[in-house]
Symmetry: C2
Subunit: 253 residues, 2 copies
């Protein structure tokens, strides 16, 4: 009916790894596997001037000259991929304790001109003002997500996937706060959601929704740099949120 190709077993058999049907020498088994270079790539989102931004570096590869690239690195020996992604983040932004989540693994054999390289894409959200961009490193820039067109490697595809992922994710969990300063007005929060989702929302309904979620702490403080009536400043109650047992089934806009 269909051909059976019991690759693993037959390969193991060829190498004489099996004995009475069971593989004993697992090291030898693993040595028989093909090996592939692995990198992580971080899609680092920030929010500034009412736009969603992504942190990119000018590619240092000649054929991608003048193209922009995500921040990545190869995974070191015995390094967890999450750790590798955190390392890249720390190295590039000086920030720790940043929201970071694995999104997807990209494996097109021709995605890297130097040969097959797998990459695991991570999405990161940070407050663009907290981070310490290395001033001397003028190869590192924040770009408007909407405007960026061409990128090195398959990084545009990765960015697109992560952006779509973020749009969906932000409607299920209150992640947006990671992009804002510790204290923020509801207008800033709404601008953030409107920018990411590319929609206009009703101010009153937006407020109702977030107050109903009950994760906003009224700081009693107000904006002080606006040329009009200042808005109240709130903090997000990360503690309460993370201890909320009930499953989060969607914020729904």
């Amino acid at each position: 009916m269909f051909a059976l190709m019991k690759k693993e077993s037959s390969l193991a058999a060829e190498h004489g790894l099996k004995n009475s049907g069971l593989i004993k020498d697992v090291k030898k088994l693993v040595e028989s596997y093909p090996r592939v270079p692995i990198t992580v790539d971080c899609v680092i989102f920030g929010f500034d001037e009412n736009e969603l931004k992504v942190l990119l570096i000018r590619s240092d590869i000649e054929i991608f000259k003048d193209k922009w690239s995500l921040l990545g690195d190869f995974a070191a020996d015995n390094e967890m991929l999450d750790d590798a992604a955190y390392r890249v983040l720390r190295e590039r932004t000086g920030m720790d304790d940043v929201y970071l989540e694995q999104v997807k693994t990209f494996s097109r054999p021709d995605r890297h001109p130097g040969g097959r390289v797998l990459t695991v894409a991570y999405c990161s959200l940070l407050n663009i003002e907290h981070h310490q961009l290395r001033k001397m490193d003028n190869e590192l820039h924040w770009h408007s997500v909407k405007k960026i067109k061409e990128m090195a490697f398959d990084h545009k595809e990765i960015l697109d996937e992560c952006y779509t992922w973020l749009q969906k994710r932000i409607q299920e969990h209150p992640l947006g706060f990671n992009l804002l300063p510790e204290k923020f007005s509801l207008r800033e929060l709404q601008n953030l959601y409107e920018a990411i989702l590319d929609v206009k929302m009703d101010r009153r309904n937006f407020r109702k929704k977030f107050f109903a979620m009950d994760f906003l702490i009224d700081t009693g403080e107000f904006e002080d740099d606006v040329p009009h009536r200042p808005g109240k400043l709130y903090q997000f109650d990360f503690y309460k949120y993370s201890h909320t047992k009930k499953k989060w089934n969607g914020i729904d806009f």
Copy 2:
């Protein structure tokens, strides 16, 4: 403020790959990366006897003797991971055109006793009756997802993640149909959702919801093997669903 470790660039520099700041020899660059064995593991779900099942194979590795394992294989040279996962599916079930989606990459350095092996987990949904389990292969079995406790490697963790993923996913998209026969009654459909989500639902409201979605084709046929009033049989309109432009924002149970 923080130490800069420009790994990629400095490594490239060491190897003399850079010239006037730009890397020319990308092949050499990639050769300088550490390499890791990659596998794919398929979490193949089926639905039978009102239970969600997963297809497992008895581990052929001695230290995991008597443990069950997901179906996987290493990724061949220049093979896309999606293709590798499809290959595993085909080899093990004889099925093609099966729902398959990448879920997550697992990278704990000690997850494989033979040394570091990355694995990319895929979730697959299929009709347990369509597939051609190789009769001779009595190492392959369907297990109740709820009941399985111990597994080889970190496969229990992978299964758990994929099950959680499925619970969420099935509430956003009508994927459940992939687990059912081509023609099914609404009771079967409801049993499926109740089993996967582990909840009880109201029959009338459940029907309303699915009819409102408007993806059910009335076949005009009826169940014929039940000892009571037979229910109507429906088909899922995969075509209409896939051509539905509007974003699917959640089925909501």
